[in-house]
């Protein structure tokens, strides 16, 4: 008997030893499982190794409120009815049914879920021993440990994923800021920001609305083609808006996604959306300022070109006319108009006195003045009558100009010896001739400006004679309409005609200088809005 008992103890020790080894190996295997199903399958395999002639079923219950879910079904039968839940604070429950040869165990797992196991002997004559029950208890504890390991790894994975996602959000916020602020990109910064905001907050959809004065101006949907009104609940949304250039931009995101359904948006999501909206706001402002700077730069370049053209055309010095004193001036405004004057000696001894003003400013006006200068120089050599010359000029200027461009001009042909002047006013300001008796003779427009209409309208020249001591003044509207800070015109307060009558210096250039001083005194600090041009001639002998 003693030998038998010793043998029995040896056998038991061997079995326990084998089972401990099996447990250790089993744990290593189980701890690699990636899912509950995987863990259960591995576990069933380990138990099967110890109970080769048994059916092993495993069931799982996330909490008491739901039914058992079968995860391993190897034919132990309708197992749920055999399983008793652990009572009170107990972590496990075990029952052995000697009739059906079933060992049933339920283990409360670390997250309060339950795992149930039923081991059913296939051979009814096989008896379940205490060792079997102890072994299975150990095994189901092993499952609990492996389940903890699985949860730990899952949590760790989720934590790493969450941390990576936060890094991604920060990184993307920086990248998006750089991308939306790029001035050379084709895509709108609003669209890019909407896409990024949706992706970073896991919103399923989004929309950007641009409104002005309560009217919808533009809508951008993400994803494109979305029928928002049919798909989105108004409650699960976040929004951020700003106003720029009288437009209100409102970003809206809807339905925060998760693997288990729609979640409420978090504070972080709102912060992200606000930050992206601010980036778009800054980008729009920067684009606007950049465009303004480019426009200013282009305007300045145009003005430099126009000024260069005008400078090339305007006389650097005037010819000396025996018995006469002449002076002229052109002060271009900042925006460079199309004023022009000249005193051109002709081959027959006469002099052409010209003053003109193109409607418009900048390069187009300067180019038209350049055309006028070229055609005028050519036609003056042909000695055709002044009225005919003006008609020819009208035609070529009409062809050379756009619809809104024309030239007002005053042309006078002076025969110096006789003092005879043939003059013609094509839509220009009246020229003044101050007689020795103090009277002023005005030469008003006798025809339309040059280039206004493509027709041979009558242009009539007239002839006068300038006597010794008499003076002629030609000017553009940059003088009469020079305005002060209150936008009032020079000619209204200090009529040019009166200045001309009462101001009679010995030298022509002194008259011009004094006239400019008088205008500057009137305009004060107001900016010069148009070119100032004048030409003065006085007969000295």
């Amino acid at each position: 008997m003693a030998i038998n008992k010793r043998a029995s103890r040896t056998t038991l020790a061997d079995r326990l030893s084998r089972q401990i080894e099996s447990l250790q190996g089993g744990f290593r295997k189980l701890s690699k499982a990636a899912t509950l199903k995987d863990l259960a399958a591995q576990f069933a395999g380990v138990v099967q190794g110890m109970f080769p002639a048994a059916d092993i079923d495993l069931v799982y219950r996330p909490d008491k409120s739901v039914q058992w879910q079968k995860i391993i079904d190897s034919g132990a039968g309708d197992v749920e009815k055999f399983l008793a839940l652990p009572s009170g604070q107990a972590s496990s429950a075990c029952s052995v049914d000697e009739i059906s040869k079933r060992i049933c165990m339920v283990q409360r797992l670390v997250d309060k879920s339950l795992i149930g196991m039923v081991v059913a002997r296939r051979r009814p004559m096989t008896k379940n021993s205490d060792v079997d029950v102890v072994s299975l208890r150990l095994f189901i504890h092993l499952f609990d440990n492996a389940y903890q390991e699985l949860l730990y790894r899952r949590n760790e994975k989720e934590l790493i994923f969450l941390l990576n996602h936060r890094v991604l959000q920060l990184n993307s916020l920086i990248d998006t800021g750089i991308e939306v602020s790029r001035l050379d990109q084709d895509a709108s910064p609003q669209q890019l920001a909407l896409e990024r905001a949706a992706a970073l907050t896991n919103a399923s959809k989004g929309v950007l609305r641009v409104t002005s004065g309560g009217h919808l101006k533009e809508e951008i949907y993400f994803p494109d083609g979305l029928l928002l009104q049919h798909t989105v609940s108004k409650t699960n949304r976040i929004a951020s808006s700003f106003t720029f250039a009288e437009n209100t931009y409102t970003f809206e995101l809807f339905e925060k996604e998760s693997r288990s359904g729609i979640l409420p948006f978090e504070n972080t999501d709102q912060l992200l959306l606000d930050a992206l909206a601010r980036q778009v706001h800054a980008s729009l402002e920067n684009r606007y300022l950049h465009e303004q700077a480019l426009e200013k730069q282009k305007f300045e370049q145009d003005m430099a070109v126009a000024a260069a053209i005008q400078k090339r055309i305007l006389p650097t010095s005037l010819p000396v006319i025996k018995g006469y004193d002449v002076a002229g001036i052109n002060i271009p405004s900042k925006s460079v108009g199309g004023d022009y004057y000249d005193c051109i000696p002709l081959r027959d001894g006469r002099y052409a006195l010209v003053i003109a003003d193109v409607a418009g400013k900048g390069v187009p006006a300067a180019l038209l003045v350049s055309s006028l200068h070229a055609y005028l120089s050519a036609y003056l050599e042909s000695t055709i009558p002044l009225a005919q010359l003006a008609q020819r000029l009208n035609k070529v200027i009409f062809r050379a100009s756009t619809d809104d461009k024309f030239i007002t001009a005053f042309v006078a042909l002076l025969s110096p010896e006789t003092g005879e002047i043939e003059l013609l006013n094509a839509g220009h300001n009246p020229a003044y001739l101050l007689r020795n008796d103090g009277n002023v003779q005005e030469f008003r427009a006798a025809g339309l400006p040059l280039g206004m209409l493509d027709m041979d309208f009558p242009l009539k020249s007239e002839r006068v004679t300038i006597g010794k001591g008499e003076r002629l003044l030609l000017y553009t509207d940059g003088i009469t309409e020079a305005s002060d800070e209150r936008d009032e015109f020079y000619d209204v307060h200090s009529p040019l005609r009166e200045f001309f009558i009462h101001h009679k210096p010995d030298r022509a250039e002194v008259f011009i200088a004094d006239l400019i001083s008088d205008i500057k005194r009137f305009t004060g600090s107001a900016a010069q809005s148009d070119d100032i041009t004048a030409f003065y001639l006085q007969r000295t002998s």
Partner: protein, 118 residues
């Protein structure tokens, strides 16, 4: 602008090629995972996901892609992404997907890389 999600798939040289179009979010990720599972259960171990028409991916969509990578790793398989938009590439890199998945310029390049792998 990104469209609603759609996908197409084909088998070439026993490799699954999934081409997506639109936002890879929960819906998109689920559709990719479903298409993958259909072929994975019948033994496909080499998969190409062509993202040429997908310029926006969110983290839920990425979680599905990670699961596909994990499942393929267990059977010594491999996933390769192709035609990845630079912004999406950066996202997938930060989320660690390229530590276990490949990246090629085109589908043809990916197929070639699989051939060289063997």
């Amino acid at each position: 602008m990104e469209q609603q999600f759609t996908l197409t798939s084909e088998m070439r040289d026993n490799r699954l090629i999934i081409s997506t179009s639109g936002y890879v979010n929960n819906l998109g990720g689920e559709a990719i995972a479903k298409e993958f599972s259909r072929h994975f259960s019948s033994g496909t171990k080499e998969v190409i996901i062509n993202l040429a028409q997908s310029k926006v991916v969110n983290s839920i969509g990425m979680s599905f892609l990670i699961e596909i990578i994990e499942q393929l790793q267990e059977v010594n398989g491999k996933l390769v992404f192709t035609n990845v938009d630079p912004a999406v590439e950066k996202m997938l890199t930060i989320m660690g997907l390229f530590r276990f998945a490949g990246k090629e310029r085109t589908v043809e390049d990916a197929l070639k890389s699989f051939s060289q792998r063997k």
